[in-house]
Every structure is written in structure tokens, then in C-alpha cells.
């Protein structure tokens, strides 16, 4: 589903941020990507979205390769990915429903389907009652639920979440993780970047890939680690 093969990423100004990173996220897996701030978690998520290309190595996502993908194929790749950010990235001048509908509209969904589908997606994250609310009228947890509904709009194969609970309290965090688990149980691969080790420890059933200074220092899904646990 998502495979990184000996990936290096280097920036002219900041130097090497990823060094020989390899891991394979299989279909239906739930993976916590952990590590301290600056460890390279966000860079990995950006490489998976092909917002950037690796300096060396290869990123493969659902049949697309970073070595061969053309610029015009990137939208097709992104429709197979749902992305959620720490800062929600909602359009403040649109209601919750319009934010979700926006993702459907700009990817060419039929007009008649958009509103009912946006409603269903909001219902799926428990926000049907707040469809007409603007982001400013919602709590942090609710905003993140709208962002998740938007990420699910195009029925992605993989959900990428970059510190999605970073701005939330414990209660809201548990709610968001629960939604991710439900989505995962329906067969979607979830890759969640977080530096919240407490949260990771609460879910020992999920795979953990830990990064430090751009290197994978622990992978509970790797054969050696799996035997050790």
C-alpha cells in the first residue's frame, strides 16, 4: 500500500532530514509514526503525498512510484489519500458541510450527490447536528472531525494524519483516535504521526515506527521487533 525503500531526503539549507528510511505499511494496518519534533515524521507524510520527492530511494503508494510519477498524475494519487493536519486547515468562511462538500466538488463528484454525501460523512464522525456551523463556532475536537470527514470524502485507501491531536485535550484526543480506529477497522490503512507517547502506549495493538534524527530506530512491525515482542 505504502512503501518507503531506502529513502534519503536532504534540503540545501537544513541538510539531511531522512536517512535510509524503509518501511512498508500494508493494507488495513494502523501505524503510529512517532519521534520527537524534527525527527522527520512530517517529511515522510509529505513524501507519501508526493508533495516532495526523495533525494534518494523510492516511495511507492498504491501503484505510484516517486521515481516515475508525472506531475499530472499526482491528483489521482492524492484522491487515494486522505490527509488530516494538526491545524485542521478548514476554510473559515464555509460551514462544516461546505468544507466537506468542497473536497467532493473539486474532485468532480456529481452535484446531486454532494450534499447527501457530505451529510453522511459528517454523520460518520458524529457531527451531523453541526453541519451548518462555521469552524469558528466549533471546538478543536469538532473541527478535527470536520477535517477527518473531508479527508474521507473521496474514499481514500490510506489516511495520513500529521499530529492530529496536537491541539486537542485528552477527551477530544480519545474521540479522534477512536474515529481513526473505526475507519481502520473498515479496512483503511491509517498512518498517524504523533509525538504523544502516552497515546501510543494506550494502543499497544497498533504498529509503531519510531524515528530519531531522520532514521527509523524502532519498528514494531519489522520481523526482528515482532519476534522480540
Amino acid at each position: 500500500m505504502v512503501k518507503l525503500v531506502s529513502v534519503f531526503k536532504e534540503y540545501a539549507r537544513t541538510g539531511v532530514v531522512l536517512s535510509n528510511v524503509s518501511f512498508h505499511a500494508r493494507k488495513g494496518e494502523f501505524i503510529f509514526l512517532t519521534g520527537h519534533s524534527g525527527a522527520g515524521k512530517t517529511t515522510i507524510l509529505r513524501l507519501i503525498q508526493m508533495a516532495e520527492r526523495p533525494t534518494e530511494g523510492e516511495v511507492r503508494v498504491s501503484g505510484f512510484s516517486s521515481n516515475r510519477i508525472r506531475r499530472r498524475d499526482i491528483p489521482a494519487l492524492r484522491r487515494r489519500l486522505g490527509v488530516v493536519f494538526q491545524d485542521f486547515r478548514l476554510l473559515e468562511d464555509r460551514t462544516a458541510e461546505d468544507n466537506v462538500a468542497f473536497a467532493l466538488e473539486v474532485t468532480g463528484a456529481r452535484r446531486a450527490d454532494i450534499s447527501p454525501r457530505a451529510h453522511r460523512l459528517l454523520a460518520r464522525v458524529g457531527l451531523a447536528a453541526k453541519a451548518r456551523s462555521f469552524p469558528a463556532e466549533l471546538s478543536g475536537g469538532e473541527r478535527q472531525r470536520v477535517a477527518i470527514a473531508r479527508a474521507l470524502a473521496n474514499d481514500p485507501l490510506v489516511l495520513l494524519a500529521d499530529e492530529p491531536t496536537g491541539n486537542l485535550d485528552g477527551w477530544a484526543t480519545r474521540g479522534i483516535v477512536e474515529i481513526f480506529r473505526e475507519i481502520n477497522q473498515m479496512g483503511m490503512t491509517v498512518l498517524m504521526a504523533t509525538h504523544d507517547l502516552e497515546l501510543v502506549r494506550e494502543h499497544p495493538e497498533h504498529r509503531v515506527v519510531e524515528l530519531s534524527e531522520g532514521k527509523v530506530v524502532f519498528d514494531s512491525g519489522a520481523p526482528a521487533a515482532a519476534e522480540a515482542t
Binding site: 503525498q49 491528483p75 473536497a103 473539486v106
Partner: protein, 285 residues
Amino acid sequence: MGYALREAAAAFRRAPLLVALSVVAVAFGLFVLGLFGLTTYNIRRAIETIEDRVEVVAYLRDDLPAEEVQRVAAAARAMPGVLAVRHVSKAEALATAVREMEEFREVSTELESNPLPASLELRLQPDSRNPDGVARVAESLSLERGVEDVQFGREWVDKVFFLRRVAGGAALIIGLAFGAVAAIIIATAVRIGIFARREEISIMRLVGATDGFIRLPFLIEGFTAGLLGSLLAVLLTYATYQIVSAGLVPIEWLPSSWAFAGVTGGALFGLVASGISVHRHLSGV
């Protein structure tokens, strides 16, 4: 396309001030160009009027028989570049001089005989009303038997054509400069519009909208702003024409093809400026 039109219309609703700024920027950029066009056009018309008066005069010998006058006139008519030939008799020349020159009127009564020669006045075709064309006709004419002298005001013709060249060159340079200023204003207004919607664009890309899909509403917006701005510019130029024409100097309004070209050009300009700006933005993110 439906989405693009709705989004373009929504952009006008969501940020009317920004759209108004773009339209006004286009309007003022093109208004300056319109004023310049109006000035250039009227200068050109004035020069054309002067050029219309470019003629070659062949003074005939006093003793030239009528059939010889006819022959010289026919030869002149057959010369390349000659549009019309008019014979001015000695009596006509005197009458004209008396009518138009006050000093001559005073002395004419004391004259024993008419001192003015008969002449042939040659009007030239428009493409021969230049220093070379005039000199060529004058030279051929001076070789004709019975022609005593040929005059065409060489210095005057040279000045008119120098003025035309200077005016043409200045028009091109100033026109390009104003065009560049208008382009910068429009591109800046479009970039402000894109900047205001950068979040929207980044989400569109995130969820997998194609570049063409993202670009289309901006192109429609740019085209519309360009069209509205250029229409406003034509109105402002027309108002200026009315004011100047009524109160200062009588001038001519631009030919409708110029006004049409201005409006079409403004709309295309908005489209291209918008296309370049959004392309640069999409390439950079």
C-alpha cells in the same frame, strides 16, 4: 465548468473589494492607454490632414499655347503617384492672390499686367505624399517642356515627415511603457486575489483537484475583471473625449475598431495575467 463559473461568481461575492480593486486597476491602466490612444489618433489625423495638403506646383511659361498646357497636364496625370491635376490660369492665380493676400490686394490695382504665371497643381496619392515621392514627381515635371519652375516646399515636406516619424516612435515607446504599467497592475491585482485564496488552493491540491480545475475559476475571474475594467476604461476615455471636445479643442473619437480592440485586449490581458499568476503559484507550491 459549472463549478468554475460558480466559484468565480462566489469570489466576486466573497471579496467584492478585491474584485473592485482588480477592475479599477485594469480600468485605470487601460484608461491611461486609452487617453494615449486618443491623443495619438488625433495627432495622426492632424498629420494626415497636413499630408493631404502636400502638392507639387508646376509654373508654366507665359507664352505656352493651350494645347501645350493640355499636353503637360496629361503627362503629369500619367506620372506614377499623381492623383489629380488642376490647371490654374493666370487670371485665376491673380484672383486667388487678391482674395487671400491683403498686401497684394493693395498693389494689384496699380499693376499694368498680370505678373503671376499659370500653373498646374498636382495632388498626390497618399502613399506618394512623402519626401521621396514628392521629389520624384517634381523632378519628372521639371523635365517637361513648357514648365518654368516646380515648387513643392521641400523643407516643409521634410518637417511633416520628420514629425510623423517622431510621433510614431514616441507613440510606440510610450504605448509600450503604459502597456507594461497596466500589465504590472493587473498581474499584481491577480496575485493579491490568489494570495487571498491560497488556503483554498492548498486544500484543493490536497484533496486531488487537478491544476486545470484549480486554474479555471481564476482564469474566468481574470477574464471578467479584464473585460469589466476595459469597458470602464472605454467609458472613461469617452467621457474625457466629450469634455475635451466640448470645452477645449475639437477632437475625433477613436474608430470603433480601436475601442473594440481595447475591450478584447483588456479581457485577454486579464486572462493571460491571471493564467501566468496562477501558474506561477501552482508551480511554487
